[in-house]
């Protein structure tokens, strides 16, 4: 008995010392040597790294307030937390290493050693059938409204509800209500079942509560709560968007759709491009609010229209978000020696092209050009919704507007989403600095977005790399006719050969 205890103690010691090595090498940079979530990189992140000393974990299979079970922690280690800086470690560390580090992480809190803590896995049941039908989604939507999801997540689910600007985590750091249209960024996983589990357990440490009491106290059935999960799942695409490098802008014969909600846009293919924080130039920005843009483009014989759509929880400037801005600036360490005071900055979208279409592979520096290699940009700002400024950027801090930059813009803000249409003539009066658009060539294009209500302005912005825009010509008729002609010809020749052969055969027989 004593021997086995000693053995167990020995094994435990070995486990945590091995785990400590893994932890020190791979985890401490963010989570800190003492597990308090205060590693050297921590102050650049929103959300900040987990503080292990409190043993409060978002992703659990247990009731709110309970400890997670080992499988819950291992899942977060293995898969990471999408939408945060936490990567998955399944492919980087061995099974043994991940189990060791799990054991070590638990030593940071006394709660795991407390035998009165007995986490119990909730009985989640199985998803009822019929979850994707219109009636199921209608029921899900009804309860989405009635149980108050919209208070934080918003009427259309983009994380823009009336309470969204006030949200804080347990430590007082700013936190966004999830944008329910981006399930690939859900911390606890993208599936209907993942969503249902989060509804039942809540995300401890965040404002997201557990809704299990609704079932236990018979205000809702399990099926009804599953319907909410199914409705939430239905807001995101069936598959996460895939980046396609070239935006195809078809030729339209009717008038250019210059309004963001012109029905002509419905027939145009959308292209998705991810944005990331600008971390190259001071002051760097690791916590961008805009995670990507959806782009559509069309052109006529003489003009081009480009529609950029992105989710943004606020139509900045909005004084309701001033407290959030203050929390963001207080949480994220600044590169500058003095911390900036919160202010009501606007939202901004920049569409960037080279000054001329490059002939070779070389393009200007993607991050707004350089002093010797400028880029041509359209800049739109939410304080002047139906206008854009064209100009030349010579590096991230220098922008010179062009006096004759005839770019137009129209914008709508709708339930947590901006839709902005930029229009311009294909030809340019000033070909030296304003890109002339033409078909037949891939035109480099890049995007930059700032959410003023997240403290973003200037170098604190979200950036993309270069992609391409192609003005499609209608396919000439001969492209379709040639194969048909070829087929007819082949068939005819073949039949001729057969007919000739038959003629010969019957001739020989007659002889």
């Amino acid at each position: 008995m004593i021997h086995s205890l000693l053995l167990m103690a020995l094994v435990a010691t070995q486990d945590t010392s091995a785990g400590k090595q893994v932890y020190t090498k791979w985890c401490a940079g963010c989570h800190g040597d003492n597990g308090a979530g205060e590693g050297p990189a921590a102050r650049h992140m929103i959300p900040p790294p987990r503080d292990f000393t409190g043993a409060v974990y978002q992703i659990r299979s247990t009731a709110s307030g309970q400890l997670p079970i080992d499988a819950d922690l291992l899942r977060s280690i293995d898969e990471g937390l999408p939408g945060t800086a936490m990567p998955g470690w399944k492919t980087r560390l061995s099974d043994r290493q991940r189990r060791d580090v799990l054991a070590y992480i638990k030593t940071f809190s006394t709660f795991f050693a407390d035998t009165t803590q007995r986490p119990q896995v909730l009985q989640f049941g199985k998803e009822p059938g019929g979850g994707t039908g219109a009636e199921a989604l209608r029921v899900g939507r009804q309860f989405y409204d009635s149980i108050g999801c919209r208070k934080c997540h918003g009427d259309q689910g983009r994380g823009d509800g009336p309470s969204a600007p006030t949200l804080k985590d347990d430590a007082g750091h700013p936190i966004f209500a999830a944008n329910l249209h981006e399930n690939w960024r859900f911390n606890g996983g993208p599936t209907t079942s993942d969503i249902y589990h989060r509804l039942r357990t809540g995300l401890d440490g965040t404002p997201m509560p557990s809704f299990s009491d609704l079932i236990d106290q018979k205000f809702l059935t399990e099926t009804e709560l599953w319907r909410v999960a199914e409705y939430v799942r239905s807001l995101s695409p069936s598959e996460p968007p895939v980046v396609r490098d070239v935006i195809h802008a078809p030729l339209v014969t009717r008038v250019l759709p210059s309004a963001p909600d012109d029905s002509a846009w419905n027939a145009v293919d959308p292209y998705w491009f991810p944005l990331v924080g600008q971390v190259i130039h001071k002051s760097r920005w690791f916590a961008p609010a805009v995670t990507g843009v959806w782009v559509k483009a069309v052109h006529t014989r003489d003009s081009i229209a480009l529609r950029v759509t992105w989710d943004d929880r606020s139509a900045s400037p909005d004084s309701a978000w001033l407290g959030h801005i203050g929390r963001v600036l207080a949480t994220v360490q600044s590169d500058d020696s003095t911390r900036e005071q919160p202010a009501l900055w606007p939202d901004q979208m920049v569409v960037q092209f080279p000054v001329t279409i490059p002939t070779g592979m070389e393009r200007p520096y993607f991050l707004m050009g350089s002093p010797s290699g400028p880029v041509y940009q359209w800049r739109w700002t939410s304080t002047s919704r139906d206008a854009a400024v064209a100009g030349l950027a010579r590096g991230i801090e220098r922008f010179d507007s062009l006096p004759r930059g005839a770019v137009g813009a129209r914008a709508v803000y709708d339930h947590g989403q901006w839709r902005v249409v930029f229009t311009r003539a294909l030809a340019s009066p000033d070909t030296a600095s304003q890109l002339p658009f033409r078909s037949g060539r891939a035109i480099p294009v890049a995007f930059f977005a700032s959410d003023g209500s997240n403290g973003e302005h200037g170098t604190r912005t979200a950036v993309s790399t270069w992609y391409f825009l192609a003005l499609d010509e209608p396919v000439p008729a001969r492209v379709f006719i040639s194969p048909v002609l070829a087929m007819v010809l082949t068939l005819g020749l073949g039949m001729l050969v057969v007919w000739r052969a038959q003629q010969k055969t019957s001739y020989r027989r007659q002889q």
Binding site: Q117, P162, D170, P209, D213
Partner: protein, 267 residues
């Protein structure tokens, strides 16, 4: 009446360390919490060793000096059902001042001096925390470890109740419907456990969790009283969500009543 409501419970001894209030943030203030009444009444009966009515009393008044801080008015325009419960828009409860700068919602408790081996049984009557008119009633309260806290929603709309604690397990549960209740207990003494609603950022409540029944919350007139103390020399701490903490040392011999007044500085 109000002073009594908030007064302490009788009981026995024990206690030990008492974690000091770790916080200074937040908002609080009183507002005559009727729901607190059952707790003080229940506690003395539950005490296992009897100090009850025979013990000594520490009573006093709490006030503050300086200019009362400006307390913001709550914007309830998003919640018509709550807004309708007030004739005029209510203010946040971070500082609730009575006449002559009396300070309400101060949690007063014995932080040291009780016999180390004393054990006190938690009362079987729960403390009730009511969410009504998008505010917590009471805003500040004391509760014994192991005693039930009954959290109920009297509003026909979503509240979530998040507890943020260090020595206890925090939690976060939702009550989207009027009439929902949830019983919770805290296992370890902690001054204070923060309770908050994230849907309504102005909603904060503070629970002083103790392993003995010697605590009270000051009423609208700033008065408090802790009864049933055995003879001894005690450190008494007063905690206010905005103004911080104050301590006093009080010696009790027999069944006397001693006065301990506290004066905070407005900040």
């Amino acid at each position: 009446m109000k002073g009594r409501i908030l007064s302490v419970v009788g009981g026995m001894f024990l206690l030990t360390v008492c974690s000091k209030g770790d916080q200074g943030n937040a908002a609080a203030a009183p507002a005559a919490p009727p729901s607190l009444a059952p707790a003080p009444a229940a506690a003395p009966a539950a005490a296992t060793s009897a100090a009850s009515a025979d013990g000594g009393t520490i009573a006093g008044k709490i006030k503050f000096t300086g200019t009362p801080p400006k307390v913001p008015t709550i914007d309830m325009s998003e919640e018509a059902a709550c807004k309708a419960k007030y004739p005029a828009p209510p203010k946040e409860e971070t500082v609730v001042a009575g006449a002559a700068n009396a300070l309400a919602n101060v949690f007063v408790y014995v932080s040291a001096g009780l016999p180390a081996n004393a054990k006190y049984q938690a009362p079987s009557t729960p403390v009730v925390l009511d969410q009504n008119g998008c505010r917590y009633h009471p805003h500040v309260f004391g509760i014994m470890a192991g005693q039930n806290l009954e959290i109920k929603n009297s509003d026909p709309l979503l509240h979530n109740i998040k507890a943020i604690a260090k020595k206890n397990r925090g939690f976060n549960v939702s009550q989207p419907n009027a009439g929902m209740t949830r019983d919770v207990t805290f296992s370890a003494p902690e001054v204070m456990v923060n309770l908050e609603c994230n849907v309504h950022g102005w909603m904060h409540a503070y629970a002083g969790v103790r392993s003995d029944p010697f605590f009270a919350v000051s009423g609208a007139d700033g008065s408090f009283s802790i009864k049933g103390l055995p003879p001894g020399t005690y450190t008494v701490e007063a905690w206010h969500e905005r103004f911080g903490t104050q301590t006093a040392t009080v010696t009790i011999a027999g069944t006397e009543s001693k006065t301990a007044n506290f004066t905070f500085t407005a900040k």
